[in-house]
Symmetry: C2
Subunit: 159 residues, 2 copies
DNA sequence: CAAAATTAAGTTGTGCACAACTTATCGGGC
DNA sequence: GCCCGATAAGTTGTGCACAACTTAATTTTG
């Protein structure tokens, strides 16, 4: 009884059992939380990834980051962001404009409407945190563990 | 200094800051781990969700669960599973057959090839666990916390 | 037993993710 | 000033996820 997750590499062990795998737990929890977000964000006409983009923009309202800078924050590439930003622009929440000094870059800025939305979604993090059933201490610990895992993986990738 | 995550619900607080949100940490970690899986599973011609389906089938090789039973394990609906299973069948790893006693049901069974694949992916969980940089104790704790969150959310949903 | 409600799987449409590719612009070296 | 490699954003194609719907079989109920 202790090849949990790491196991000793035999096909007759339990390593390949779904419920034992931390990756499935992560995958399932991520989708479950997105399920909690969906009806809440739906009232604002947003998807979760769109909400994430707005979070970045709200952090620096006078900045108008480029598509690449947004991608670096969220770890998403232009293949994901380009159509997503087009939809946010269609909804009147952001504007995209070519940079004057570098015509390759596209700067993404908030519209008045996009800026105003911030106040309306103010209660969202609280609602989500409640749904997890965890206390603040556990949430912070979970967040930090997950961030450490993500950073470890990304650091390995760069080398 | 302590509206971390839960916060006190004001727009001028830090609740809406990306890096503070446990949900983003979860979303980012889930995608990062899938990134680790991708090149590994690619050698077997599998995606991560396809691998998850096989995990369920390998757990009970003589069972041939229905599409719904698979969906209950993985929390995926037929809209996701139907085309996925069609691809697994096209790859020669599973077979789908209408149940004799209930023509609505479709039973999903492993082919010889699908059964044989189990031995080949035996080392995968170990490789993944190593990539996280966490020890066994931390991995088990993380898994259990995440499972608790997922169960909490699903229990709330049913009521 | 027949109509109505339920259940199972599949289909359609939308929106991510991501790989691979294209197009346009930029910067450095000659 | 021109070529060349690098960079930025966008496009195309594939595969999830999931809502909403369709079709077919089964169960419930009057």
């Amino acid at each position: 009884m202790h090849n949990l997750i790491l196991g000793y590499g035999s096909a007759v062990t339990d390593d390949l059992v779904l419920r034992r795998q931390v990756c499935f737990a992560l995958y399932a929890a991520s989708r479950a939380l997105t399920d909690v977000y969906r009806p809440i964000l739906d009232e604002f006409g947003l998807t979760y990834p769109q909400y994430l983009v707005l979070l970045v923009l709200w952090e620096r309202p006078d900045d108008a980051p480029t598509v690449s800078e947004l991608g670096a924050e969220l770890r998403l590439d232009s293949g994901t962001l380009s159509p997503l930003l087009k939809r946010l622009e269609g909804a009147g929440l952001v504007v995209r404009r070519r940079s004057a000094r570098d015509e390759r870059r596209v700067e993404v800025g908030l519209t008045e409407q996009g800026r105003a939305l911030r106040q309306q979604v103010d209660e969202v993090p609280l609602q989500i945190a409640r749904a997890t059933g965890l206390g603040i201490t556990e949430l912070v610990a979970l967040r930090d563990t997950l961030t450490r895992v993500t950073d470890t993986i990304h650091r390995q990738k760069e080398q």
